[in-house]
Amino acid sequence: MAEKVISPDLKFVKEVIASGGGDLKKCYQCSTCTVVCNVTPDTKPFPRKEMLYAQWGMKDKLISNPDIWLCHQCSDCTAYCPRGAKPGEVLGAVRKVSIKHYSPTPLASMVGDPKFLLILLAIPVLLFLSYIVPKGYLDFSAIPRGENGAIVYAKFMPVFPNIDVTFGAAALFAVVCFAVGIMKYWKEMTVNAGLTKWGMAAKGNIFETIYKTIVEIMAHKRFQKCNVTKARSTSHLMVFYAFIGLAITTTWAIVYLYGHEFLSIPKIGIFNFGESPYPLYDPMKLLGNASALALLIGITLVILNRMKNASKAGIGSYFDWLFLFVVFMIMATGIFSEVFRLLNIAGLAYPTYFTHLVFVFFLFAYAPFSKMAHMVYRATAMVFAKHVQREEQS
């Protein structure tokens, strides 16, 4: 094997420490972590080697390494670490640095840094204000109402172009960023894997691998191997399916609106093609509300679990908490928007809905730089690992 030159990158060490790996330097390589880890492959197991690479500032070895994503931060390692080096937290910090590395805009450094939180929030706030201020909608009585004086959010913030163009653009931006990041990540993983003994012989075709990965993700199989934070698997599963539910709801709503608009599909029984708001009995509405409730409960459980496990697993970083906070805010404001609308309390309904839009924008537009990105990078790493038979080695 070629001799590898080791030349530590002190800046990277400091970055990992600042990103939530504060106890990184305490590791003395006893390997207890790799022994207690249930999700690592048996050959070249993590997170022992990752701890050393991080201590030595070996950025190349870490950020383009699929192993950092195979880790699900069960925190079994952190709970058993005899020196309190918190490998789970360190790998979380490395993932954050990795996300930042592959996200191609300056937003990457801003999302992980509390200093920029207000600026990041200000962008959607100003954007949405620019839609309503000229119309004089800061005076809620000026906002047109629907039948029988009901509050109709579409009249406050028109679906087209305000909502759909804004979020469509945000989503497109996120997709492009993700695509660029993933391509770079895949390429670097490929180069790195060539240097290791994992071998590059791909078994089967890539689509089959992707399919297998999706099945695994759907069942949360890896997550269930965790010990110390076992409960996280259930709450995460709940959040995961709630998000899927909401994605379906959103698509469904688009079909209702544009199906009616462009294809002139009328209301069919319980399926209310046409403009919002939709009655509560509509299956789309039922799915949406159920998903919203599931997400709120799920995210609350995630937060409670984190607090409960803090002594064993570590409290987590700003990066983690920001994501949890955003999801929680989306759900809370979403549900209350609906409640206040139905109760017809304009003074609460419009500001709540406004806040809701701000946080949804935050989630969409900043997804490639926030912890939301874990969904994409982890899935990619899992596909790659399967592709190069990293996992079959276990």
Binding site: E3, V5, I6, P8, L10, K25, Q29, L52, Q55, W56
Partner: protein, 717 residues
């Protein structure tokens, strides 16, 4: 002094129920003709002690034979100054280890006979008095030497300090900073050495006289009365000295032998000592510059164990380099952009230093990894590669550095220089230091600082590789041993390990044939020779092991309470069973390890074959071959010697005793063959103090072997 014996038989601890005390009393009175024989239900109680004290005062008893328990216990109760005290371990050897009641009685009678005869043959000890001084000589003015000097001086002893350099301070003078001794998490990890303060304290101390640029030319005499010739700046002076602290320190291992690590080949490969000099260099203010181009070093690699734990260089660990490299890493880290990379075999930071290691490791720029450094090569751009194999970072990696520091090891000053220049018949320096890689160490497990020369106590890195804090502790220990030495020789008693012993070797010189066996064999060099080659004893150097007594073919060496005839008479006066199937076997055992093991076996009520009788010796080295003839001529069937382990990891209190006994036994076989006795009737076994469980098997095996040989043909003569 006229002796009057008193035999006191204790009935406590089940002795009374197991034995016929009346019969024992009668043996004492009638057969052994002891003038005062008494028994008591608990001799160690106040009433029992008063009974004895009363006899001392009113009856004039001055030789007290206590048939009670082992001499290893109750020694404070049974302390009668001015009297000769003989202890018979009746409880242990006659009661606890015996199975049958009848055997208990026979054993008790034997032991009483043997020990009463021993006491009858002994004399009341008197101390060896000579003119002594209490001045302590400290050789070496480094941290250990200065600390030792201050310790002794503060205890009120005059101190003479000899330093070879022109100024005090030793290696600390070369250091930029030191490891703090306070809490590592509150103090900075590198602090000023403040050696000036210590030097000043030493130089201004009224009890300390300092010789600089000085050397010990000659050490003559003995503890309490050494004549030490000190040369300093061309003049010589003879100083009277009581005891010596050897703190001559160390030097770094010769790095030119480490060319495989690039030393000599690359200017930017330096030793840890040279690294201190770089950091100390005036104008640098701690900035680390490279010798090659004077640029600041920002990637410094430390190679641990450079030429250490390596059979081709130093085979041992120098104990201080791991913490030193962590400290030096902090020098590098005075520049926040620089990194220090420590490449180790193992990090060894015992005790509180573990916290130092943790604190240093917490620094983002201090990087550590384990691996095998195989070489140093040119990386171009003025940098170097440290080549590593089997490292945690990869199977084969090159660590790029702009400066490489070799953690070279400690070589003791005593490796090739006797330092002390002792005018002893056995040589100028300390003997057998090759056992310790040249360090002035010893295997006196329980007695650190002691060397094989009484009165010479080693401290600091000349004794073992250690760090500065440990050297200071060592210095205190050695100073206290030196104090013990001067006080004991002033009182005329042994220094150690028989620190209570007032007796001393008193040879009957008229019969000396000048064969010099004693001068050769004395483990402590206590015996010199005069111009005619006749040995003469220096009792101050003597540890009272009686190796000389065992060595002497003329049997002229005796102590007041221990001599050849005394033990020989014990061997001749035990019962020998008439039944030919019942052998009688003597076990000669060393009182420091083997006998305590027997005591422990007894305490655990482990049964031991009734054929044996135990005789305690000061050391197996005192075994005189005539005892074998003594025993066998009386029909004894076998002789077993239980001694300490010898060899590289010897456990003998007197270093050589059991080894010498074994050596002498090698020669006795001839004699036995001549007597037409089987050589296998005499055997030596090595036993450690904690191996008491093995004793019954060792003895049974030997008894079986003797039974197989058959009874001693001299039986009944």
């Amino acid at each position: 002094m006229e002796k009057k014996l008193g035999l006191y038989i204790c009935e406590g601890c089940s002795i009374g129920e197991s034995l016929n005390i009346e019969k024992l009393t009668n043996i004492g009175k009638n057969a052994l003709k002891v003038p005062v024989v008494k028994s008591h239900f608990a001799l160690c109680g106040k009433e029992g002690i008063d009974l004895i004290k009363n006899d001392i005062q009113s009856e004039g008893v001055n030789t007290i034979v206590l048939a009670a328990c082992s001499s290893r216990i109750k020694y404070e109760e049974f302390d009668f100054p001015g009297s000769l005290v003989e202890r018979i371990p009746l409880r242990e050897l006659a009661v606890w280890v015996q199975e049958e009641k009848s055997e208990m009685q026979i054993a008790a009678e034997d032991y009483i006979k043997m020990h009463v005869i021993k006491a009858q043959k002994g004399d009341i000890p008197e101390p060896y008095m000579m003119e002594t001084v209490k001045t302590i000589l400290v050789i070496g003015g480094g941290m250990a030497g200065m600390s030792s000097a201050l310790q002794s001086a503060n205890l009120g002893y005059p101190v003479v300090l000899v330093e070879k350099e022109a100024q005090l301070g030793g290696f600390v003078n070369k250091l930029y900073k030191k490891i703090p001794t306070a809490e590592y998490y509150t103090e900075p990890l590198i602090v000023d050495t403040e050696i000036d303060k210590v030097v000043k304290e030493v130089e201004s101390h009224p009890n300390i006289k300092v010789y600089k640029s000085a050397k010990v030319e000659k050490t003559d005499g003995q503890p309490g009365a050494y004549d030490v010739t000190i040369s300093s700046n061309g003049s010589e002076e003879v100083v009277k000295i009581g005891a010596i602290v050897l703190a001559a320190g160390w030097r770094p291992y010769d790095a030119t032998k480490l060319d495989h690590l690039g030393y000599g080949k690359f200017k930017d490969v330096v030793t840890n000592i040279e690294f201190e000099e770089i950091a100390r260099k005036s104008g640098n203010k701690g900035k680390i510059t490279r010798p090659s181009d004077g640029k600041e070093a920002k990637k410094v690699a430390f190679i641990q164990c450079a030429g250490q734990r390596d059979p081709n260089h130093l085979s041992y660990c120098s104990a201080m380099c791991c913490a030193t490299s962590l400290k030096q890493a902090k020098y590098v880290r005075q520049n926040q952009d620089a990194v220090a990379m420590i490449l180790y075999k193992d990090i060894r930071t015992p005790g509180r230093l573990e916290f130092y290691y943790k604190e240093a490791q917490n620094d983002a720029g201090v990087m550590l990894t384990k691996g095998e450094v195989t070489g140093v090569s040119d990386a171009g751009r003025g940098n170097l590669y440290v080549e590593m194999e089997n490292s945690l970072l990869g199977e084969k990696v090159n660590v790029e550095a702009d400066l490489v520091v070799l953690a070279t090891g400690v070589v003791p000053a005593t490796l090739d220089d006797p330092i002390l220049n002792l005018q002893y018949r056995q040589g100028l320096g300390l003997p057998d230091l090759d056992l310790y890689d040249g360090f002035a160490d010893s295997n006196f497990i329980c007695f650190q600082y002691e060397t094989r020369r009484t009165g010479v106590y080693a401290a600091g890195c000349v004794r073992q590789p250690m760090n500065m804090a440990e050297a200071q502790e060592d210095a205190a220990g050695a100073a206290l041993k030196a104090v013990q030495c001067v006080e004991h020789v002033a009182k005329g008693i042994a220094v150690h390990p028989r620190a209570w012993d007032m007796t001393y070797p008193d040879p009957f010189m008229q019969r000396c044939t000048s064969c010099k066996r004693c001068t050769e064999e004395c483990p402590f060099g206590a015996i010199d020779e005069d111009e005619k080659g006749t040995p003469f004893f220096k009792p101050g150097r003597c540890r009272r092991c009686a190796t000389c007594m065992g060595a002497c073919p003329e049997r002229i060496v005796s102590f007041k309470d221990y001599h050849v005839d005394m033990i020989g008479s014990m061997l001749k006066n035990a019962s020998v069973p008439e039944d030919e199937d019942e052998p009688r076997i003597f076990v000669l055992c060393c009182e420091n390890d083997a006998y305590p093991a027997v005591d422990t076996a007894a305490l655990q009520k482990i049964k031991i074959n009734h054929a044996v009788r135990f005789v305690q010796l000061r050391c197996l080295g005192s075994t005189n071959l005539v005892w074998i003839a003594d025993a066998f001529s009386r029909g004894v069937d076998g002789l077993l010697l239980l001694g300490c382990k010898y060899g590289e990891n010897y456990q003998c209190h007197f270093a050589k005793g059991s080894e010498l006994a074994n050596y002498r036994l090698g020669k006795v076989q001839e004699t036995l063959d001549r007597l037409q006795l089987e050589a296998d009737r005499v055997q030596m076994v090595q036993l450690a103090i904690d191996e008491y469980e093995k004793i019954p098997d060792i003895i049974n095996e030997f008894v079986d072997k003797v039974k197989e040989i058959g009874p001693n043909p001299f039986k009944g003569f």
